[in-house]
């Protein structure tokens, strides 16, 4: 009887522990929504807009996680590739959906190149992929600035003055994408009780999800999962580990490029030098809010995360303003929460690794007790967890 209760308590506890972050966010949202006083239809509208805007970007993070490379802070690279493509396309004056499609095509070579570089570097820094990919995003940002601020218009031909800085080269701080603004969102869009649903965008996202599911079932997907779980075993089995890892980063970068283009077509203008700088951080935070961890993430995490994170994002400033009378508090609060959630997820991941190690000692002590009782029996079997843990150190 008590044993049953105990095990039920344990399941509840482990459920709570494994889902701390999403539960915390549900709580935050539940408190903030009534305080903010937004109407449900407004909220719903905003959430759907933001879901359509961001889901694709967040999806791009899944594949490196599958390949065991952690959260790809280098997705910023894809975002930059997308931005470069958009600058070109808007200089060529290709508008509307053709503009978006062309930008995606143009972004591919840039993304592949950047992803390849990133993958190469990460292969040199195994075990600290995350901090390295994080620094790579800064480093490439420098190169991006060099290209966009100094080379475009002077070396790389840019025809239109409207996107160039007055000095004759370099791109302006904002490039208007008015001519492709929400072109995808508005096509086939339907309104239900004042809530606009961008059907085409959602279709594209759904297609992407199907692609990811399909990808998991391919040989390459299987190899990535193998590499992600145990790099040595995968190598012994003849899988080209380095190449597989590079491919996973390239795919992620290309998808991030597409995601950034979709994101910017919704926003309608491009902040040339800052649009990408926070994108990685927000996407990673959203994914983690959805209950993903450094080594495990699913499509469900993406959507749950996008919805919860953006609900918080919408209501926090207003709620903060209502509570403290200062709208900035809410602004800072949501920034704090984004960083806090990443910090928490990273800490929990590292602690989980340590906990696994510590549990074996406890098992041995237990076996010893059994041993005493059954003396002089041959004794307990080596603990089954043993070998796995050794390998994973």
């Amino acid at each position: 009887m008590s044993g049953k209760q105990n095990s039920a308590g344990k399941t509840v506890f482990s459920f709570l522990r494994n889902n701390t972050v999403p539960l915390m966010f549900i709580l935050i949202c539940a408190v903030c929504i009534p305080i903010s006083g937004f109407s449900p239809s407004y909220l719903l509208n905003e959430i759907i807009t933001r879901l359509g805007r961001n889901a694709f970007l967040i999806l791009s993070l899944l594949i490196p996680i599958m390949a065991g490379m952690g959260l790809n802070f280098g997705m910023t690279l894809g975002a930059m590739a997308g931005e470069i493509a958009l600058i070109f396309v808007s200089d060529w004056q290709i508008w509307g959906i053709p503009g978006v499609v062309l930008a995606m095509i143009v972004s591919i070579p840039f993304s592949v190149l950047l992803g390849w570089v990133c993958g190469k570097i990460l292969n040199m820094a195994k075990g600290r992929e995350m901090i390295t990919s994080y620094i790579i995003s800064f480093f490439i940002n420098g190169i991006y600035q060099l290209i966009v601020l100094y080379l475009m218009g002077s070396v790389i031909p840019i025809a239109h003055g409207s996107i160039k800085l007055p000095r004759g080269y370099g791109i302006r701080n904002t490039v208007s994408l008015l001519n492709m603004r929400q072109c995808i969102d508005n096509l086939l869009a339907i309104r239900i009780e004042g809530v606009k649903i961008p059907v085409l965008t959602l279709l594209i996202i759904a297609l992407m999800c199907i692609l990811i599911v399909w990808f998991r079932r391919t040989k390459l997907g299987q190899d990535m999962r193998a590499v992600g779980q145990d790099i040595h075993v995968a190598r012994d089995a003849g899988i080209n580990v380095e190449r597989t890892r590079i491919i996973s980063i390239i795919i992620s970068t290309v998808l991030a490029g597409f995601g950034m283009i979709l994101y910017l077509q919704n926003i309608g203008n491009l902040s040339t030098y800052s649009a990408h700088s926070q994108v990685g951080m927000f996407c990673i935070a959203a994914l983690l809010v959805g209950g993903a961890s450094v080594d495990r993430a699913s499509i469900g995490n993406v959507f749950l995360g996008a919805i919860l994170f953006h609900t918080m994002f919408i209501v926090a400033p207003k709620a903060g303003a209502v509570i403290t009378g200062d709208p900035m508090i809410g602004e800072y609060f949501r920034v704090f929460v984004s960083y806090g959630v990443i910090t928490l997820a990273l800490i929990m991941y590292e602690m989980k690794k340590r906990r696994q190690k510590a549990s074996i000692g406890a098992q041995l002590a237990l076996a010893q007790k059994d041993d005493d009782r059954h003396e002089p029996g041959i004794g307990a079997q080596p603990s089954p967890a043993r070998k796995e843990v050794e390998r994973h150190e």
Partner: protein, 155 residues
């Protein structure tokens, strides 16, 4: 053999993507079309402005042009179609004209003169490139904020 087959497939895909890109260049080219109702001087002759001209695009009225008025619209692709409902002189009955134009690829802004078009003049008389003087915007050319940016609210 297998390799060859692989490269054929890859080549086809690449070709397809490039063709798609090319197609996008054609169908996605955006233009701004300016429609003028002004008196046109051509070869010493003068074609006077209409009393009134309504410009309809895609079944919606864009604007109503009086004498010396100008309106503008944007269009994607190189073919452009509009319907004009013209009143030549005060008191005249309005006449309907459907205008179909093929827009030159390299021009961003295109100026169409209605009186010239209606008079059946050669194309170079009523179709011209419209260049906006790049107005020096007061946007500061300072360094981008870059990494010191505060995370923005817009996301």
């Amino acid at each position: 053999m297998n390799n060859k087959r692989k490269w054929i497939f890859r080549g086809c895909t690449l070709l397809f993507v490039l063709l798609l890109a090319g197609l996008m260049f054609l169908v996605g080219r955006g233009h701004t079309v300016y429609i003028d109702n002004k008196t046109l001087e051509y070869n010493g002759e003068s074609y006077s402005a209409l009393e009134r001209s309504e410009v309809w695009i895609n079944g919606e009225r864009l604007s109503k042009l009086s004498k010396r008025d100008r309106t503008m619209t944007t269009t994607i692709g190189n073919s452009f179609e509009m319907k004009l409902i013209n009143t030549e002189k005060k008191g005249d009955d309005p006449t309907e004209v459907v205008v179909k134009l093929s827009l030159p690829y390299s021009w961003d802004g295109i100026l169409v003169n209605i009186p010239g078009y209606l008079a059946g003049l050669p194309q170079e008389a009523w179709l011209s490139e419209f260049i906006i003087e790049p107005t020096p915007m007061e946007e500061d050319a300072e360094e981008p904020a870059g990494e010191d940016d505060i995370p923005t609210a817009e996301f």
